[in-house]
Structures are given as structure tokens and as C-alpha cells.
């Protein structure tokens, strides 16, 4: 019976990784669509929102089912706990991708101000964090996430700098207000995605060691 359970856990892991990759893909594609002002690409992100929702429901049910029928303990319990958190985080990351994609069509009419400020750079850092957190879950390699605290600090600093820069452009010309407000919101969404990557990292740490850590 234990063998069957462990085979099911492997399947749960593979399915969860698929969902995590979709969430990450939606965020990456939305940012690309924003950078290129590509409405079609943005629409392709929005189109996947139902799919990721369905994955969330199905995977959560699978987790509850495994808990109810197998009463997992120790590492198995920690793995399922971490998986439930990863499922939630992946959905949120995917949804932020969708929200950013929805912004693209609002600001198609004119070229970007200051080449989107630091948003493309910030997005690269955030998506690297998401990748490393998910890879740590996949490979049990904690070294991928041991510098998350300082990486999160950098992301926070970038969000703050984009906010300051955005305000400056708004004060220069009120016509920039709408566009810069969108930029500031995007920076805020990216920062939240980095927070979700940190949450995933905290849970991978717990899954691996049983120790609770907090990444600020």
C-alpha cells in the first residue's frame, strides 16, 4: 500500500510542477507582451486563466484525497503541505500574469515612458526567483534558495525605485499619470510574485528539514 501511495505522491509532484510551470509561463509571457506592447500575446495569457484554476482545484482535491486515505506522516506529510502551498502560490503568480496582461491593452496607444523604467530587469529577477523556488521543490536542492532574503530585498528596492521614478514622470506631465500608475501597479504585482517565491522557498525548506524559516 505504501508503494502505491508513494507512486501517487510522484504523480502529484509531476502535476504540481506542471501547474507551477504554467503560472510562471503566464507571468513571463505577460511581461514580454507588456514590453513589446503585443496585444495578441497578452490575450493568449488571459485565455489560460480557466486552465490554471481548474488545475488548482484538481490538485488540491488530489492532496486532500491523499491525506484522507493515507494519513501521511513525517516527510510525506511535509511534502503534501508544501505542495498545497506551491499550488496556491502558482495560481497567484499565474493570476498576476493575467492582471499584467490585461494592462497591456490599456497602454498600447503610445510608446513606453523611459523604456518601462526598471520593470524588465525587475521581472527577470522575480522570474528567476520563481524558477529557483520551483526547481528547489523539484530537486530538493536547498542551495537554490539560500540567498532568497537578499534577492527579495533587491526586488523590494526596485519596486520602491519604480514608484519614485513614476511619481517624477507624473509630476512632469499629468498625461503620464495613467501610464505611470500602471507601471507602479505592475511593479507591485511583480513584488508580490517575489513574495510568493519566498513562500514557496520557506515551504521547501520545511519539506526538506522540518524546520520553519521566515524569509523577509
Amino acid at each position: 500500500m505504501a508503494e502505491k501511495f508513494h507512486t501517487e505522491l510522484e504523480k502529484l509532484k509531476a502535476d504540481t510542477l506542471e501547474m507551477a510551470h504554467l503560472g510562471r509561463f503566464m507571468l513571463r509571457t505577460a511581461v514580454d507582451a507588456l514590453i513589446r506592447q503585443d496585444a495578441e500575446l497578452a490575450a493568449s495569457v488571459v485565455a489560460r486563466k480557466e486552465e490554471i484554476h481548474r488545475m488548482e482545484v484538481r490538485l488540491e482535491e488530489h492532496c486532500y484525497h491523499l491525506i484522507a486515505l493515507n494519513q501521511p506522516m513525517a516527510r510525506d506529510m511535509r511534502f503534501i503541505a508544501c505542495t498545497l502551498k506551491l499550488i496556491t502560490a502558482s495560481l497567484r503568480i499565474g493570476r498576476y500574469g493575467k492582471v499584467i496582461a490585461n494592462i497591456v491593452k490599456e497602454i498600447l496607444d503610445k510608446p513606453h515612458i523611459a523604456n518601462l523604467m526598471s520593470i524588465p530587469h525587475m521581472a527577470d529577477l522575480v522570474i528567476d526567483m520563481v524558477d529557483d523556488a520551483v526547481a528547489a521543490y523539484e530537486s530538493d536542492n536547498l542551495r537554490l534558495i539560500d540567498d532568497f532574503s537578499s534577492r527579495d530585498d533587491t526586488v523590494d528596492a526596485l519596486r520602491h525605485s519604480i514608484f519614485r521614478e513614476g511619481i517624477t514622470y507624473m509630476m512632469e506631465d499629468p498625461k503620464n499619470i495613467s501610464r505611470c500608475t500602471h507601471y507602479i501597479m505592475v511593479a507591485r504585482y511583480l513584488e508580490r510574485c517575489a513574495d510568493h517565491a519566498c513562500k514557496i522557498a520557506e515551504n521547501v525548506q520545511y519539506m526538506e528539514t522540518g524546520e520553519r524559516v521566515e524569509i523577509h
Binding site: 500500500m1 505504501a2 501511495f5 508513494h6 494519513q71 501521511p72 506522516m73 513525517a74 516527510r75 510525506d76 506529510m77 511535509r78 528539514t209 522540518g210 524546520e211
Partner: protein
């Protein structure tokens, strides 16, 4: 373990003939707590349990080394009276084993052996013990019926009442629920929870969920060794030893 210990073993080794069943077992059993011993069949958990009231003395060709203390007194010291030891350390077995006597006599038997003769006193002990074992309401109208007419779960609670009647300090339970249905099991588990207010309970179980549910501390044994012992939450959430991890997640055993 932070709680005060009632039983302590120090480097206990035990052999049945040539076969070593316990290897350097050192464990502290905290007072007024429930401690579970888990591990695969043949790991020595029942043997260790039977050390605590010297039940292994009854088996031929058993050799024990190391020290076991109850209330800081060596239970193998020449001055230790085994009958008194077994009064202090009561035992409940896997299969309920009531005497083929009335319900009343089953409980009154122990106190009588230990010298209680007064009828009123015996009545009081019987009622108290049956109440403590959460079976009084079910049997109070038929104390003079045969104990063998009770259901398995009731018989097991009667056996617990019989143990309580001689006012032990420690109650050993060797798979006390393995022959019971889930409802009878739940009653025994609720009872164990209440018993720890007055007694120290040590329970051997194959059922890891049961160990997780009822005990404050859990010891994992494997091939005669105590691999790990700690608070139940820690053992089942993040055990320190890989062997424990592998056993409780069903990777062997």
C-alpha cells in the same frame, strides 16, 4: 525530555537464549504522560515493555543486563519484591483476558490478593475502578454476571479496571486495541487520555495513527535498539533519524 521520569532504563540488554532482543536501550518514561513504543514486528518493543514489570522473568533462559529504575529504585535489586513491583506496574494485554468469574470478582480479585477483606471497602474499589475505566454505567446493573458475557471492548475496559483496582503507578498496554473494532478502540483511546491524570501509561502499538493520537512521547525501536524517542509531534512531523522517517512513512516495516 523535559517531564520528570518515573521509569529509567540504562543500557539494557536482553537475550532469549543466544538471541539478543534488546541492545543498550536507554529510555526515560515521563511520569503522568502517555508514551508509545512503535516499530516493526520483532523490534523488541513488547520485550522492553515486559522488562518494566519483570514479566520476562517468567521466561526460561532470559538474561538481562543494565539497569531499570522505577521511582529511582532498581527493580532488579534483591530487596525488590516482584509482586509489589507488578502491583505498581500493571499490565493490559492484546487480547482481553478476564477471569472466568463475575464482573465484580474480576475487579475485586487484585485488592483481595493484596489483603483487602472489608466488603464495603471492596465495593468502593470496584465501583471506583470501573468508573475510572469508563465502564461503570454499562455494567453497574449486572456486576454478578460473568465477565465472559461482555463484548470485547467491554472486556478490555474491565481488564483495565482490574489493573486500576490495585492502584498502580504505571500501566503497560501491549497492543490494547488490536482485537477491538473502531468504536471500542475510540473508547479505550479516550480512556487512556483520562488515565494519564493519575497514572503513567506506556503503550505498545503497531498502529502509528494510534500512537500519534494518544501519546505525548513516542519511541521508535528497530532490531532491538531504541532508534529515537521524543515528543510525539516531533517524531511524526520531523523525526531526526532517517530510519524513523522511513518507517513511519511506510518505506519499510
Amino acid at each position: 525530555m523535559s517531564d520528570a521520569a518515573i521509569i529509567t532504563t540504562n543500557n539494557v540488554n536482553l537475550w532469549y537464549n543466544e538471541k539478543q532482543a534488546l541492545q543498550s536501550v536507554s529510555i526515560k518514561i515521563p511520569k503522568n504522560r502517555v508514551t508509545s513504543l512503535i516499530g516493526p514486528s520483532g523490534c523488541g518493543k513488547s520485550t522492553l515493555l515486559r522488562c518494566f514489570n519483570r514479566l520476562n522473568d517468567l521466561i526460561d533462559h532470559v538474561k538481562i543486563t543494565g539497569e531499570i529504575t522505577l521511582d529511582d529504585e532498581n527493580i532488579h535489586a534483591p530487596s525488590t519484591d516482584v509482586v509489589t513491583l507488578r502491583k505498581k506496574v500493571g499490565m493490559v494485554f492484546q487480547k482481553p483476558n478476564p477471569f472466568p468469574k463475575t464482573i465484580y470478582e474480576n475487579v475485586a480479585y487484585g485488592p483481595r490478593v493484596h489483603g483487602v477483606r472489608d466488603k464495603a471497602e471492596l465495593d468502593k474499589i470496584v465501583e471506583q475502578s470501573l468508573r475510572h475505566a469508563a465502564i461503570w454505567d454499562e455494567v453497574k446493573e449486572r456486576l454478578n454476571d460473568s465477565a465472559l458475557g461482555l463484548s470485547g471492548g467491554q472486556q478490555q475496559r474491565l481488564c483495565i479496571a482490574r489493573t486500576l483496582a490495585v492502584e498502580p503507578e504505571v500501566i503497560l498496554m501491549d497492543e490494547p486495541c488490536s482485537s477491538l473494532d473502531p468504536i471500542a478502540t475510540a473508547k479505550i483511546e479516550n480512556l487512556i487520555e483520562r488515565l494519564k491524570e493519575d497514572y503513567t501509561v506506556i503503550i505498545v502499538t503497531h498502529n502509528m495513527q494510534q500512537a500519534a493520537r494518544v501519546s505525548d512521547y513516542t519511541g521508535f525501536m528497530y532490531l532491538g535498539k531504541l532508534i529515537e524517542c521524543g515528543k510525539t509531534g516531533q517524531i511524526f512531523e520531523h523525526p531526526k533519524e532517517e530510519l524513523t522517517e522511513n518507517y513511519i512513512t511506510g518505506r519499510f516495516g
